[in-house]
Subunit: 225 residues, 2 copies
DNA sequence: AGCGACGCTGAAGACCAGCTGAAGATCTTG
DNA sequence: CAAGATCTTCAGCTGGTCTTCAGCGTCGCT
């Protein structure tokens, strides 16, 4: 899932980025309103976490301009508690949810997930493919009834494949979806994680759910391999 | 959106038709399995609402025959609640969703809409030519039901031909589309790959989907050869 | 029938994409 | 701070794929 954090408190933003990335989100950061606005319109995010106090262009303006421009991402506003700006106004400008600073990290993650779920209800919560079950909500994976322990990256890769089950997904697509867009390293990271994934969900079961399509990318077999 | 209702309860079918037409759907009705099957294959519907209890040919049979014939419409099965036929079986035969009778009209409409949306979103780009099926999304190719393993180049050539099925495509066009457009090598590479393609999708089946038009180029027969 | 142009195809070697083990970097946890 | 897990980078390896080439077949024209 792709998240954009727009906050001028660099340390907070960096901490959030690290934390969320560890949970498997792909996170980009902007430190002012103008940059955030441009970033959010240029690239499709699932959720934008938007601080209200921003240099240049405040959060309300960014939010309403995004909505005016037809942006369909979820917008979670961070409101300072001093009461100068209130939550009702945040919702009025088109935000989907708000959180008062200071907030607990755990709460933020829960809200992010809830928001993403709410927006993406059309997306299946569970993808079942033959003997392979990927539970996007619980972030768990079952193969032939066994619970498989996956790392954050592994799961994120599997998630993206599962959401496009049956179709070939290029390594570039996976990079864009799972890593943030500034990642410019080798696509070999994808190969490494796919390799690890196969070692866990395919090899021990003699299956081949994750198929290589040479010269194009990968495909998750709709029958689970 | 085009909907076909196949149900032998004439009053129910007529009521549904009126209701759905009022909501802007284009609705046709059939009262038995044979008619429904013929109607569904003759005309492309977005969704077929299919009762299971039908005179002549039951809903399961209609459904599996439709799927066997390559029908890609959404199929919503109406299952009687007496439990004689269960939902798992409905899904097995290729239905996309089911609804137990008696059902609420509002629920039916919601399900219809959801189904149409679901199908529309994941509309795989598929080109079907007689016994030859080229799935551009999954990058797979089926000939008479067999999965054909193609290399990246072979598939790319076939893809370009399929997108212009029935038209003659010059070797130059293929070079520009499949190879880099500044490729200045011999056009013989195209011949080599076409040759390999024919060996896989035509020769074993005694067909000739890929036709040579001497002095001009190649043409993919619209009837699959 | 004979000729030339065009197209087909088998073989061979260059080439390249993808796989994987290992090592170092980085982050998390106790 | 140490231990452990995870992520990324790297390089060697493998096997499939692509291209080239040459020889042959086929077609259309005279």
């Amino acid at each position: 899932m792709r998240v954009l954090i727009v906050d001028d408190e660099r340390r907070l933003a960096a901490a959030l980025q690290r934390g969320l990335e560890a949970e498997g989100f792909a996170v980009d950061v902007a430190h002012d309103g103008i940059t955030g606005l441009r970033q959010a319109t240029r690239s499709p995010y699932d959720v934008v976490v938007l601080d209200i106090m921003l240099p240049g262009l405040n959060g309300y303006k960014v939010c309403s301009m995004l909505r005016a421009g037809g942006c369909r991402s979820g917008i979670l506003m961070l409101t300072a508690k001093d009461g100068e700006w209130d939550e009702a106004e945040a919702l009025d400008t088109g935000a989907d949810d708000f959180l008062s600073k200071p907030f607990s990290y755990v709460v933020l993650v829960a809200r992010l997930r809830a928001l993403a779920r709410r927006l993406g209800e059309r997306q299946p919560r569970v993808v079942r493919l033959g003997g392979l079950t990927v539970d996007l909500g619980a972030r768990t994976c079952l193969r032939s009834g066994d619970q498989i322990r996956l790392t954050a990256r592994e799961f994120a890769v599997l998630e993206h494949l599962a959401l496009h089950a049956g179709d070939v997904v290029s390594k570039r697509d996976i990079l864009d979806a799972v890593w943030d867009e500034h990642y410019d390293g080798d696509a070999n990271v994808v190969e490494v994680h796919v390799s690890a994934l196969r070692r866990k969900i395919d090899a021990p079961y003699g299956r081949a759910a994750v198929q290589t399509v040479r010269g194009v990318g990968y495909r998750l077999a709709v029958d689970g391999g």
